[in-house]
């Protein structure tokens, strides 16, 4: 016991899959914590249905959590798992296609009852018909073993005992990959020990039983070790995109000295930002759950007028409703950050699945000439920096700014190297306190450099003024229907946003040997798969350059130069070619697209093949 041979692996991808009620998200995130604390690099992808509790055992009710952990830095949660833990036939059926032949398959044998098989559409049990012969199949009676292990725990109902089987499976996986279960015990203690001591006991016992089962069973001959990764030194925590985004907003509030106001209406996958921020009241954060998406944005504009750092969060179907308010904020020239956590559409689409389909909407989905800066986060932890950057631009240029994330970044997680506070930018805005034209205050007299107008908040004596959605006269801000004035103001608003290009970093190109002829240009949430694909292509000895856009409007000032430097440009996107259309139109570059809208992150392997084909075609 305990002396089974240990095999070294450089990386493993594990997927837990079960019923929505089986606790797969918890199991996955705890396994993630164990891997993170051991020092592996990690990347996770939760994958759950929009239904809260679809009928038990049914195909739509399957919830999954994929974890990629490695002894080196990794960029994605992985295309395909090496190990699949399937808690019932439905989970097996919906996930098996992703498991390569030869992969490890651990199933709860107890769950393969006639009824469950029927619900999953199996005519006969796949555990017995030889259809799984090409996998390393480990049928483990998880339910029986769990219930058996808990028979002495008092106060736990049979149903509750059965529900602890996710901890049994976590214990088994922890043993298999040499992870300590101590962090999970600590987690369970904090969560249950005080409120439900019997549930705490049951979970810990199940966890330990699973671990012990691994040691004693003959089903597993070897265990595996994935050594810690060599990451940049510092303190880390595991973080999801929505958590990082929320923290970035709180940080921006501190960095600007402005109270944070969030107007939001619950919507998947953005709701957790509202929930997270609602818990930071000691930071002076005001969260307003509005009656609808429009009011959420409107209240934020009102808060901005009053001098707050104003935020509204949503996903595509909600953002489309905010367009009118964004137009107003453009006209008022007040700071506002609109977070769009993109999901697959159109309309309700696939609420829990990621897509990059909102780019053209946030750029152009408003009446008339209405330019808005757009910032996109590239990874879960990058949502922190992207949020600060969006706030910076909004405050400095007095403009609404779109911050784009997506369902994958929102729920996916990775280790985050905690920033030193003193490295974060100072976002303190200058409020107008005095007349700016002799004795007069002109609310639309612009800063010569930024073209931003003064921000005079109510309560400031002598600067009383009225603003609104009607066209403004230059400088005075009075209502004006003058043709030349409208032409001027339209151009000024456009120039102001375009001018931000001088205030953002140039587009960096990752071209290690500097000899690439093909450039891959991505944006936002596809950073992981695109960078991983480029890496694979280079490992095959073929040069390729990768550039990834954070600023979609304005684009970095050297974007055109970068694009023209390469013979071929490939633009991978999780849409049908929105950035592609922009760069072709703006730079007259004959770029090609690589487009998937499958509701899952791009697969690095497939993209690598596409890039390689392009490199070879020269």
């Amino acid at each position: 016991m305990g002396i089974k041979p240990v095999e070294q692996l450089s990386q493993v991808i594990v997927r837990f899959a079960g019923d929505s009620g089986d606790g797969m998200q918890l199991t996955g995130s705890q396994f993630t914590s164990e891997a993170a604390l051991l020092g592996n690099d990690i990347s996770t992808l939760p994958d759950f249905p929009a239904e809260i509790r679809a009928p038990a055992g049914s195909l739509p009710g399957v919830s999954g959590f994929q974890l990629h952990f490695a002894d080196h830095d990794i960029l994605t949660p992985g295309d395909a798992p090496n190990v699949l833990v399937a808690m019932n036939p439905a989970a097996l059926k919906t996930n098996l296609a992703d498991l390569p032949k030869g992969g490890t398959l651990i199933v709860d044998a107890d769950a393969f009852t006639d009824r469950n098989l029927q619900k999953a559409g199996y005519a006969q049990s796949p555990l017995e018909d030889g259809s799984l012969d090409e996998y390393q199949l480990h049928p483990v009676p998880l339910t029986t073993l769990t219930v058996g292990a808990l028979k002495d725990v008092e106060g736990v109902t049979p149903r509750e005992a059965e529900r602890s089987k996710n901890m049994f499976s976590l214990g088994l996986m922890s043993w298999l990959y040499g992870r300590s279960i101590d962090p999970t015990i600590a987690f369970l203690e904090e969560k249950f020990a005080a409120k439900r001591p019997e549930i705490y006991q049951a979970n810990v016992k199940a966890l330990q039983a699973g671990y012990a089962f691994g040691e004693t069973t003959e089903s597993f001959a070897v265990t595996y070790e994935v050594k810690p990764a060599k990451l940049t030194p510092g303190r880390y925590r595991n973080i999801t995109g929505n958590q990082a985004l929320s923290l970035g907003l709180v940080a921006s509030s501190r960095l600007s000295g402005l109270p944070l106001f969030l107007g939001a209406y619950p919507i998947t996958p953005a709701s957790s930002i509202l929930e997270e921020l609602a818990d930071y009241k000691e930071f002076g954060v005001r969260t307003f759950q509005a009656e609808d998406e429009i009011a959420a944005a409107g209240a934020a504009v009102g808060a901005a007028f009053g001098g707050a750092l104003a935020i509204t969060t949503s996903a595509g179907p909600g953002v489309v409703l905010k367009a009118e308010t964004v137009g107003l904020a453009i006209m008022l020239e007040l700071p506002l950050v609109i977070c769009d956590i993109q999901r697959a559409g159109p309309s309700t689409g696939m609420p829990t699945k990621p897509e990059q389909g909102d780019l053209l909407m946030v750029l152009y989905g408003r009446n008339s000439e209405s330019p808005v800066p757009v910032v996109a986060a590239r990874s879960p932890s990058d949502c922190f920096d992207a949020a600060i950057e969006a706030c910076r631009i909004a405050l400095k240029y007095r403009t609404p700014v779109y911050l784009l994330s997506d369902a994958y970044l929102a729920n996916g997680s990775e280790p985050w190297l905690l920033p030193e506070l003193e490295t974060l930018p100072d976002l303190t805005p200058t409020f107008a306190t005095e007349p700016n034209a002799g004795d007069e205050f002109l609310p639309y007299l612009r800063d010569e450099q930024t073209l931003a107008r003064p921000w005079a908040v109510p309560g400031t004596p002598g600067l009383e003024h009225r603003i609104g959605g009607l066209e403004k006269a230059d400088r005075t801000g009075n209502i004006s229907y003058d043709p030349d004035n409208h032409d001027l103001m339209t151009r000024l608003r456009a120039q102001k946003v375009a001018g931000i290009a001088s205030d953002i970093p140039e587009l960096e190109v990752d071209d290690p040997d500097g000899d690439a002829k093909v450039l891959v240009l991505g944006w936002g949430g596809t950073y992981g798969p695109v960078a991983a694909a480029a890496r694979r292509v280079r490992e095959r000895g073929k040069p390729v350059a990768h550039a990834h856009l954070r600023h979609l409007n304005p684009l970095p000032r050297n974007t055109g130069d970068v694009l023209r430097r390469y013979e071929k440009v490939l633009v991978p996107e999780m849409n049908l070619g929105q950035l592609l259309q922009l760069v072709r139109a703006q730079f007259l570059v004959d770029a090609a697209g690589y487009n998937q809208v499958r509701g899952v992150p791009l697969r690095a392997a497939e993209l690598a093949d596409a890039i390689e084909a392009l490199v070879d075609s020269e």
Partner: protein, 336 residues
């Protein structure tokens, strides 16, 4: 009365240099004049007062008040003012809206602002027509109204704004008439004193598209049609005060002689909104009189105060937010 800064303000201080652009004879002029005369009485400095409006003729109002102001988008003024009022409890916030703005496109925002009891005042200029879009029927237009968009008469049953506000849990509901400066000032004064949402419907004449819609009370010098509501007083009216209101056992209200028994004594502070609602159903058409004044005026926790209180409690419990600590919360590990 002197303001926050010790200045004595007059109506003139609240005028702006902008040319007022309503049609000649529009009721909005009278409301603006009454408002400018009334504001100094509040003793609030101009810089601490904000008018927020949506879209429509009434929505031009902020341009003519020398305070801070925002002319926003159609129907959204209550939402915008909610964000302002909750983040800036130091301000006196007024929403100016119309029957189309508040009850049609902005209906949702209106009812939710009222139930939350946000600390602002909502003035609804009701002219029972769409003026700015040149004469289509509105949500308060009477059934069968013939307009450009309803050549054979409108099919919609109208809203009663007072009933709607009471149904939406408003804590203050009043009605005034554009030409009745004294009555309007009384209602505005009570609204300003009320902490929380105050909703005031102001009958406003549109001489171009719906002239004389309220002629029965507007030009009612003899007081034969206006039923003035005064808290704690019997509800009587008529040229000689000979008519009165009386509540039947089923809650409905009937007209009786002032000399009869059981004349209703107005109680705007009653916890239950039933009486105020019953009074809101008294109309020219059904009872031969129209109540004006304060229908309902009760105290209830104010959203802005509750939010501020939660922030205070959180800070007391957890200490003032420490960003470094927040970033380092949860399980962390060190890579060396």
């Amino acid at each position: 009365m002197s303001d926050d800064n010790g200045h004595t303000l007059t109506a003139k201080d609240f005028r702006t240099d902008q040319e007022v652009r309503w049609c000649p004879g529009c009721g909005d002029y009278a409301i603006l004049a009454a408002m400018q005369s009334f504001m100094p009485e509040l003793g609030i400095a101009r810089e601490n007062t904000v008018f927020v409006s949506g879209i429509g003729c009434a929505a031009r109002f902020p341009y003519y008040m020398n305070t801070y102001g925002m002319h926003s988008i159609h129907g959204r003024a209550p939402a915008i003012a909610t964000g302002l009022a909750t983040t800036r409890p130091d301000l006196s916030v007024w929403v100016v809206t119309g029957d189309g703005d508040a009850l049609s496109i902005g209906g949702n925002h209106l009812i939710h602002a009222l139930r939350r009891n946000i600390n602002f005042k909502i003035l609804l200029f009701n002219n029972r027509i769409y003026g700015l879009t040149k004469g289509q029927y509105s949500p308060t237009s009477e059934l069968g109204k013939v307009t450009k968009s309803t050549p054979m008469g409108s099919l919609d049953w109208p809203f009663n704004p007072i009933s709607l506000a009471i149904g939406a849990e408003a804590t203050f509901v009043g009605r005034a008439i554009d030409t009745d400066k004294k009555g309007m000032t009384e209602v505005l004064r009570a609204a300003a004193e009320h902490r929380g949402s105050a909703f005031v419907e102001i009958f406003q004449n549109c001489p171009i598209f719906n002239d004389d819609a309220f002629e029965f009370v507007r030009d009612d010098k003899e007081g034969v049609n206006r039923i003035a509501l005064h808290h704690g007083e019997p509800i009587t009216w008529g040229a000689d005060g000979e008519k009165a209101l009386r509540q039947l056992p089923d809650g409905t209200i009937e007209v009786c002689a002032a000399s009869e028994d059981g004349v209703l004594v107005h109680d705007s502070s009653h916890t239950e909104p039933s009486l105020a609602f019953a009074l809101s159903r008294v109309t020219q058409g059904t009872h031969g009189g129209t109540p004006v004044g304060v229908f309902r005026n009760v105290e209830r926790a104010v959203y802005d105060d509750l939010m501020a209180e939660q922030l205070r409690v959180a800070e007391k419990k957890r200490g003032k937010g420490d960003l470094a600590k927040l970033l380092h919360s949860g399980e962390t590990w060190v890579v060396s």
